[in-house]
């Protein structure tokens, strides 16, 4: 017998269930309790950068919208800096919570477009927003990234997009420009299944 390693094990995940809003966005569950709910503004009105809005749906394997999903968004500021990694733009939080319309499953959020961020060994990553999804039926929160269709040149050199072997699957991470906003539908299953990461 060898010595015992004394690492702890990570607490196992469980689904957030259908009532995740009670804990994380009680206003959406139908009641007011906190002085302020967290995650309502990713980038406050004063935060510098190009204002953008992103909208989409999360769809299950039958193409039905997942109406009880809760998404968290996490991004760098317009200069490519994350909170905690240097000075970020005033009024910029970089993190927010997104809840869809309970009837249609359509969600949207407003923010500033993130700048490119230095990745491992300083290789630049194209502008992107990390999204983390929880819902009833999702046993471990799902992580994906949203990239922007109008960043074609930087996307081509992005070290994470370039990890994806199948060209057809790279597209699942690219939000399409649609007038003033970007469209990003997330497919949990099927031919267009979004690429999810084991980060």
């Amino acid at each position: 017998m060898a010595q015992k390693l004394d690492y702890l094990k990570e607490t196992p995940s469980q689904t957030s269930g259908p009532y995740v809003h009670i804990g994380l966005a009680p206003g959406d569950a139908g009641f007011d309790i906190y002085r302020q709910e967290l995650g309502r503004d990713i980038a406050g009105a004063q935060a510098k950068g190009d204002r953008i809005s992103v909208r989409g749906k999360v769809l299950d394997g039958t193409g039905t919208p997942v109406k009880d999903v809760l998404i968290e968004a996490w991004q760098a500021d317009a200069a490519g800096t994350y909170p905690g990694c240097g000075e970020v733009a005033p009024d910029f939080r970089g993190w927010g919570r997104v809840i869809p319309d309970f009837e249609t499953g359509e969600w949207s959020f407003d923010t500033v477009k993130p700048g490119p961020v230095a990745g491992r060994s300083g290789i630049m990553m194209a502008p992107h927003i990390t999204l983390w999804l929880v819902a009833r039926g999702i046993n471990v929160g799902l992580t994906t990234r949203l990239y922007f269709a109008d960043e074609q040149a930087t996307n081509l050199n992005d070290p994470v997009l370039n990890l994806i072997e199948q060209d057809s699957r790279r597209k699942t991470l690219i939000a399409q420009k649609n007038g003033d906003s970007y469209r990003f539908d997330i497919h949990l299953q099927g031919d267009n299944e979004t690429v999810f990461f084991d980060v």
Binding site: D6, Y7, L8, K9, E10, T11, P12, S13, Q14, T15, S16, G17, P18, Y19, V20, H21, I22, G23, L24, A29, G30, F31, I33, Y34, R35, L38, D60, G61, W74, A76, Y82, C85, G86, F102, V117, A118, G119, R120, M125, H128, T130, R136, G137, I138, N139, V140, G141, T143, R145, V160, L163, I164, L188, Q189, E193, T194, V195, F197, D198, V199
Partner: protein, 241 residues
């Protein structure tokens, strides 16, 4: 630029698989393609931070944070514990959020139609920051079991939903805690999405008689472990680091 250490690989055999046949909702909501493994970049290593401006001291007292005419009905409990990482280091100043049904098993949610009564004095959510030693505590009532549509006759064991941040966004975790001695734990299709009994045991809060308030509240202890960081013994670091 701040350098972040890499995180330990998440043990996907300790967590439930995405597809768990007996938890029916997971069938159409589980990705079927392999997850793409990503080494830690700043997008995963950095994470949002929270402070005492974000929350109020009363937020962690579920007996009082929604009380209108008096205390909520139910068994009064203290829920406390520590947030640690896999290296047993405390995680200070991190946001812990909880939500739960009331003592009758009913959620205050416009989509919950279970016939147990809403408690006018119970909201069912709380939040707090861990202290410098990673400790947190809440005061609440023990939630009731409730039925749900999976099998015709499926009941959830009493449970509290728990959300934790940690330092890196890739440590983000949502889970559920159960209560020692509850016979419904072993029957629950959601609990049983977890393949390893030792991992299930990690979700069962222990009755903690040392932390009770005598003549007032029982206590349960629930420690939460987030992913740890690799040490960098031999890494070649750029100048200046």
């Amino acid at each position: 630029m701040t350098q972040f250490p890499d995180l330990y690989q998440r043990d996907r055999e300790w967590h439930p698989p995405a597809y768990a046949q007996n938890y029916k909702t997971s069938v159409t909501r589980s990705p079927r393609k392999a997850l793409l493994s990503l080494e830690t970049t700043p997008s995963e290593a950095a994470g949002p931070t929270f402070g005492h401006n974000d929350i109020d001291p009363l937020d962690k007292d579920l007996l009082r944070n929604y009380a209108k005419t008096g205390d909520p009905i139910g068994e009064r409990i203290i829920l406390h514990g520590r947030v640690l990482d896999e290296n047993t280091r405390p995680v200070p100043n991190t946001l812990v959020e909880i939500w739960q049904a009331n003592a009758g098993g009913r959620y205050r949610h416009k989509k919950d139609t279970y016939l147990a009564a809403i408690d006018p004095n119970f909201g069912g959510c709380g939040r707090t920051l861990t202290d410098e030693n990673g400790c947190y505590s809440f005061r609440t009532v023990k939630p009731g079991a409730y039925p749900w549509r999976n099998w015709v006759n499926s009941w959830r064991p009493a449970h509290i939903h728990v959300s934790v941040f940690g330092t890196s966004f890739a440590q983000r975790l949502i889970t559920q805690l159960y209560f020692e001695g509850d016979p419904l734990i072993a029957k629950c299709p959601i609990v049983n999405t977890i393949p390893d009994q030792r991992a299930i045991n990690q979700l069962v809060a222990a009755l903690d008689l040392n932390a009770t308030v005598p003549l007032d509240s029982l206590a349960y202890k629930f420690d939460i472990v987030l992913r740890g960081y690799r040490s960098t013994y031999f890494e070649n670091r750029p100048e200046g680091n």
